[in-house]
Symmetry: C2
DNA sequence: ATATTTTTGCAACATTATTGCATTTTATAT
DNA sequence: ATATAAAATGCAATAATGTTGCAAAAATAT
């Protein structure tokens, strides 16, 4: 596992540092997406808040994690599993936010449906965010 | 126009106040969706920030405006054109955010495509947010 | 017109985000 | 292994954003 994180950083020409390794670990362990705040709590007193901001920003730029928009002013992040690269994300999967347990899932296997835009509109990125009740909470 | 705003407020059992009328007007005039901050700027020194927060919240609850999630920690708002009511929104249209001019459009005529969820997941709300280049910027 | 209800503004506070710079850590070259 | 260069971190200061309680003001109901 550690070696995988290491190669992710190397591959992206990023220095290997304690915070970056730790944050990658948090994402890997996480059951769903994480907000900045989650990371802050889970790594209490380990790093500065600023380091977390900068790490997340770097990871997004490099295509290591992707953002998930939510309707409540909290951006979530999750590991990219597709082939995302520097400046070009490719995570066209659906995101599901459970209204009950609040876990956010990357539904890797349900591709974003294609959207038909009016003439003259050029599409770049599509975010499909579904909210509702998840499998666990439904049972 | 004024009379329309008035009837919107009446219909929803809301007192008719200067701030509510003005904010409705801003939405009607707006070329696209507005963020809290946009409203603050456009109504400089007219009302308190807190009033804007509370007005937006009330309007969302009543189904007068709807939220549009974005990936950069800023929630946008736009007038509901469909039949939205207290506690039950019905704006299942696609939103388009132009990367160039930054205007956010409600694409009223392109319904959100239906999403196929894994077994056990129950869907409540779907947000489809497309970003790219809009008609005006493309020309 | 008066009483009641609702909304507003202010102040205080909390949370979240950004920036510059000195120090520390990591990577590179010898 | 050591010295050098490059990059990342922590800290402090500051900005931006969001929340709450309460008294004053405005709107509605009687
Ligand atoms: Mn995802
Ligand atoms: Mn809309
Ligand atoms: Zn759940
Ligand atoms: Zn545009």
């Amino acid at each position: 596992m550690q070696t995988e994180f290491l190669s992710i950083l190397k591959k992206n020409n990023l220095s290997v540092t304690e915070s970056r390794m730790k944050i990658l670990e948090l994402f890997a362990q996480a059951n769903g997406a994480l907000a900045h705040n989650d990371i802050e709590k889970k790594s209490k007193l380990q790093f500065d808040r600023v380091t977390i901001y900068r790490t997340l920003q770097t990871f997004v730029e490099k295509g290591i994690i992707h953002t998930i928009p939510t309707a409540d002013n909290s951006v979530l992040y999750a590991l990219c599993k597709d082939e995302c690269t520097q400046g070009h994300h490719n995570d066209n999967h659906v995101h599901f936010i459970c209204d009950s347990c609040n876990v956010t899932y990357c539904l890797e296997h349900s591709n974003s449906p294609s959207v038909i835009l009016p003439k003259g509109f050029k599409q770049n990125r599509v975010d499909v965010v579904v909210s509702g009740i998840c499998l666990k909470c439904n049972a």
